[in-house]
């Protein structure tokens, strides 16, 4: 690629499921276009790079660094800081890095409770000696008291939402980033691009909540069917992939830019469209909501509770 200045890019995998790394590959042939404009200088998951390689780079020498996954260990934190130093633009890639995602729900529990469950109480765990790995025996990076988002550790220049970022979101983000833009993505909610939007009735009213399996899907807007769909409170851009597969939106793209908090927005919208009912029925319908945090704060718990759950005062 003579004559053309190649952008140096890096990708790192913090605490996450690995889906983000795969999502970059899911660009398919588009990734070749990317490689025409950029060279990969660090991507441990895909190629052989060592931390020393990164340490050796000049500060600010990476044009765009993508960090996927959240910050759960000392090591995650260290690399986040290192990448920050080495790069011009640091991007939180995917929901974990941006908001904490599903693994951020761990902030509802203490580190001890988590270890207890994972190493001792889990039904599929066989650990007769009750061993809990610790840094005493091995040199292991410390498991931090709480999970953090990238922004809670270092300054972040851009965010790519999604769990993992869907293809259209990614293409759009990469194009913008390669042009040096850090603001991108849609700023309306998902209903805007939802294939079911025309089936909305004039007045949406909910008198009973159904979980997905409790109701035969008639193909209409999920919300109008009484099935909680986070679409109205969730940023568009994914081209409603889930809904196209007949699955209601769970909100991985996060809130639209104007909204302060996705969960509460959706809750107040839902509360507003409940049908006419007496207090008792109201209580019943509210109690029928299973797993409120997991429904409305599935992705943003860590962002909202960086210090974990407030302990009861009693």
């Amino acid at each position: 690629m003579e004559g053309k200045e190649m952008k140096k890019i890096a990708m790192y995998w913090g605490a996450g499921c690995g889906g983000c790394d795969v999502s970059l590959l899911s660009l398919h042939e588009k990734i070749l276009d990317l490689l025409e404009e950029a060279e990969i200088v660090f991507w441990p998951c895909a190629m052989d790079f060592k931390y020393e390689d990164l340490e050796k780079m000049k500060d600010g020498s990476i044009d765009i660094a993508f960090y996927n996954g959240a910050i759960r260990t000392e090591e995650n934190e260290e690399i986040a800081k290192l990448l920050r130093k080495k790069s011009k633009i640091l991007v939180a890639y995917g929901s974990c890095a941006t908001e904490g995602c599903v693994i951020g729900l761990a902030n509802l529990y203490s580190r001890e409770e988590i270890f207890d469950t994972v190493y001792l109480k889990n039904e599929t765990t066989k650990n007769e000696d009750g061993i809990i790995p610790s840094s005493n025996d091995l040199h292991l990076p410390e498991f931090l008291p709480h999970l953090k988002t990238l922004e809670q550790v270092v300054k972040v220049d851009a965010f790519i939402p999604g769990c993992p970022p869907p293809k259209p979101v990614l293409e759009n983000a990469l194009e913008a980033l390669l042009q040096g833009k850090t603001e991108f993505g849609k700023s309306v909610a998902l209903c805007d691009e939802c294939p079911r939007k025309d089936s909305k009735p004039e007045k949406i009213e909910i008198n009973k909540f159904y979980r997905w399996h409790e109701k035969e899907d008639n193909g209409d807007c999920f919300l109008a069917q009484g099935i909680i769909c986070m679409g109205p409170a969730t940023r568009a851009g994914c081209e409603a992939e889930c809904i196209s597969a007949n699955i209601p939106c769970t909100g991985c793209m996060g809130a639209v830019p104007k909204v302060r908090e996705q969960g509460i927005s959706m809750l107040s919208a839902l509360a507003s469209i409940l049908g006419d009912m007496d207090e008792e029925k109201e209580k019943e319908i509210i109690e029928s909501l299973q797993d409120v945090v997991g429904t409305f704060y599935k992705y943003a718990t860590a962002k909202l509770l960086p210090e974990g759950r407030l302990k009861d005062e009693s």
Binding site: S187, V188, L190, D192, E202, L223, K258, V259, M266, S268
Partner: protein
């Protein structure tokens, strides 16, 4: 441009200053950025108070004003009026430190809260936009629901002033309860005689469209621009063709109870409720009729020489645009079956006051004779029980206001009919506050020698031919026991049961007795909270005919004042949708209680200015935070919260 804000703290006599340290409020506020002047005054709303504001606006070159005083519902208009001479009136805000502070808190706490309230108002004011009122056109036509004396009076007043009226009455005739009464206290004029000329005037008035046997189905819109759908039920008789010859009634084989006669007299399936009914026509009661088809009966149709009977008549939906609405749906008596303690329903000789009215009427079930229903004989001892169901925590807690008066009337008329009879009245106290009312009671007590017994009835039971009424005369402390032939219960007055449904359609409130709730119990007694809707007569509270008529004229004058302008000014504090960022989720459209959010072709929402009441429901519900309330923008609210916490 930074605002130059003046803060004016009102003492409201001791209403505020008695609790809140108003001086300290002013001194604290002076420290707020942007506040260039703060002071206190005895009564800000007084002329000198208003002048003080004007003077300071000029001297201090103020361009925005906060008046810390009572509720904006009281004086916002006063102070905005003062500021209007100098700058846009939306740069004037009131901070309510009376209702929301001095009246509900004490001491230091009150002063602290007052300071916070005023600071928050200053923060809000900083970002207020200059606004102009929205102008909406007025449809100069009035809908009146209910054709009792109140509805009739209001209709005549408005029609006489030259405006169109649609009068909707659900029964076959207008007239309401007054048509059922015999003579009226305190002057004892014949009720029908004074009522029927007004009913005829309604029927003849070119400006009144009378829709009887009709009900309001739907109401939408807002002051000046309501849209109503009215159902005109088929009466199967052509109102104009019917000559009221009564041939049909004669041949009709079906006999049912007559509602107008409190079910104490029969009527046929084809009937006219009373001879002076307006419109003057028979009505076929479909429920009672044998079949509405030539094969099943059709005797009435065969005898009708005027050819007025039409079995194929269909319900009609009539749509009208009106600018104002008066609700005059009147009252019912409290359900007699709920008064188990008086054994009503079980005993034929215990009747309600309205049944007694019908008995007194020459056209009533007994032809004007007072009888003991079980035997048909003249009752020689009658007990009247006041407050039956009223002023009673088990039933209706309020005073029904007219029972003392009509019971006195009943006792008097009874004595006129049965001069050798004895009348007893059990009462708690006598409330006779109208003009000439006390004199009327005195006359009844003295001239007619009615036995007034102050005390509640403890027990009623039947003993052979008699009904025994036991109680204690609390004035003498003696037990009283009367062997009565007839007992008349002055039943509590309650609002119509369907008032609740009508209220829902109108988006107005009703209170415990199903009475429509006025906007202010003293200062806005005929207005609903929703503009353009008014109440008249017993629909609002129990009252006598003179009060019902006066209230009807008051409501009419309110309507006329709306009709006196071509355009109405409307508060511009409405919802605004950022259409670009609207996802068309449809939530706001679903929640707006005024139908002001409209779904556009592309599914996105748009607020119809004229319909929006600025309630903010949509803004709270929009999951995209995409709706802003004018002068209550999110940033404003956040800033207000920040200064108070």
């Amino acid at each position: 441009m930074a605002r130059r804000i003046g803060v004016f703290v009102c003492h409201c006599g001791i209403n505020i200053a008695g609790t809140v340290d108003v001086e300290r409020v002013a001194r604290e506020l002076e420290k707020q950025p942007g506040v260039v002047f703060a002071t206190t005054y005895q009564y800000m709303c007084s002329d000198p108070g208003q002048n003080l504001i004007k003077q300071k606006i000029e001297e201090e070159n103020l361009d925005a004003v906060v008046v810390a005083a009572c509720s904006p519902a009281m004086h916002e208009e006063t102070f905005r009026g003062v500021c209007r001479e100098y700058f846009n009136e939306y740069r004037c805000e009131m901070a309510n430190i009376r209702e929301q502070c001095s009246w509900v808190h004490d001491g230091e706490e009150a002063t602290e809260k007052a300071i916070k309230i005023v600071k928050a108002t200053v923060e809000k004011l900083r970002d207020n936009e200059d606004l102009m009122p929205i102008l909406v056109p007025v449809e100069k036509k009035c809908l009146i629901i209910g054709g009792g004396i109140a509805g009739i009076q209001a209709a005549l007043d408005i029609a006489d002033a030259g405006y169109k009226v649609i009068l909707v009455e659900k029964e076959p005739s207008i007239g309401g309860r007054m048509a059922q009464l015999s003579e009226t206290f305190p002057t004892l004029d014949c009720s029908q005689c004074i009522l029927t000329p007004k009913m005829v005037a309604v029927a003849r008035h070119p400006n009144i469209k009378l829709l009887t046997y009709s009900e309001v189905l739907e109401i939408s819109g807002f002051v000046g621009n309501f849209h109503v759908k009215i159902l005109k039920k088929p009466r199967y008789v052509d109102e104009d063709a019917c000559t009221v010859c009564g041939d049909c009634e004669e041949v009709c084989p079906v006999i049912v109870a007559n509602e107008f006669e409190m079910e104490r007299k029969p009527r046929k399936a084809i009937y006219i409720p009373f001879p002076q009914a307006v419109p003057s026509t028979y009505t076929l009661d479909r429920e009672a009729c044998l079949g509405l088809a030539p094969l099943t009966c059709s005797q009435c149709k065969e005898v009708c020489e005027a050819n007025a009977i039409d079995y194929d008549m269909q319900p009609k939906i009539i749509e009208e645009d009106v600018g104002a609405i008066i609700v005059a749906t009147g009252y019912d008596l409290y359900d007699k079956n709920k008064l188990v303690e008086y054994g009503y329903g079980e005993d034929d000789d215990i009747i309600t006051s309205l049944e007694f009215e019908r008995m007194l009427s020459a056209s009533g079930p007994t032809g004007g004779k007072i009888i003991k229903p079980s035997t048909g004989k003249e009752p020689k001892k009658v007990v009247f029980i006041q407050c039956a169901g009223s002023r009673d925590k088990q039933h209706m807690p309020y005073c029904s206001s007219i029972c003392c008066m009509y019971t006195a009337k009943h006792a008097l008329l009874y004595k006129h009919h049965v001069p050798d009879g004895e009348a007893y009245i059990f009462y708690i106290d006598i409330r006779a506050t109208g003009k000439g009312y006390e004199e009327f009671i005195e006359r009844v007590m003295e001239e007619e020698r009615i036995n007034y017994i102050r005390g509640k009835v403890a027990k009623i039971y039947r003993d052979g031919d008699k009904i025994v009424v036991c109680g204690v005369d609390t004035l003498t402390g003696r037990k009283v026991e009367v062997q009565a032939d007839l007992v008349v219960l002055a039943m509590a007055i309650v609002g119509k049961e369907e008032a609740v449904k009508i209220a829902k359609k109108l988006k107005v409130a009703v209170d415990d007795g199903n009475f429509f709730k006025e906007s202010h119990p003293k200062l806005k007694p005929v207005e609903a909270l929703t503009r353009g809707i008014y109440f008249a007569g017993c629909a609002q509270a129990p009252k006598d005919i003179p009060s019902a008529v006066a209230q009807a004229s008051a409501a009419a004058s309110k309507v006329l004042s709306i009709f006196s302008k071509d355009k109405l000014e409307k508060d511009p504090l409405i919802a605004v949708v950022d259409e670009e960022h609207c996802s068309a989720c449809g939530i706001c459209v679903s929640v707006c209680p005024y139908g002001a959010m409209m779904k556009m072709e592309n599914g996105k929402a748009r607020c119809i200015e004229a319909l929006c009441e600025g309630c903010g429901t949509c803004a709270a519900a929009c999951p995209s935070s995409n709706i802003e309330m004018r002068n209550y923008k999110d940033e404003q609210i956040v800033k207000m919260v920040e200064v108070v916490i």
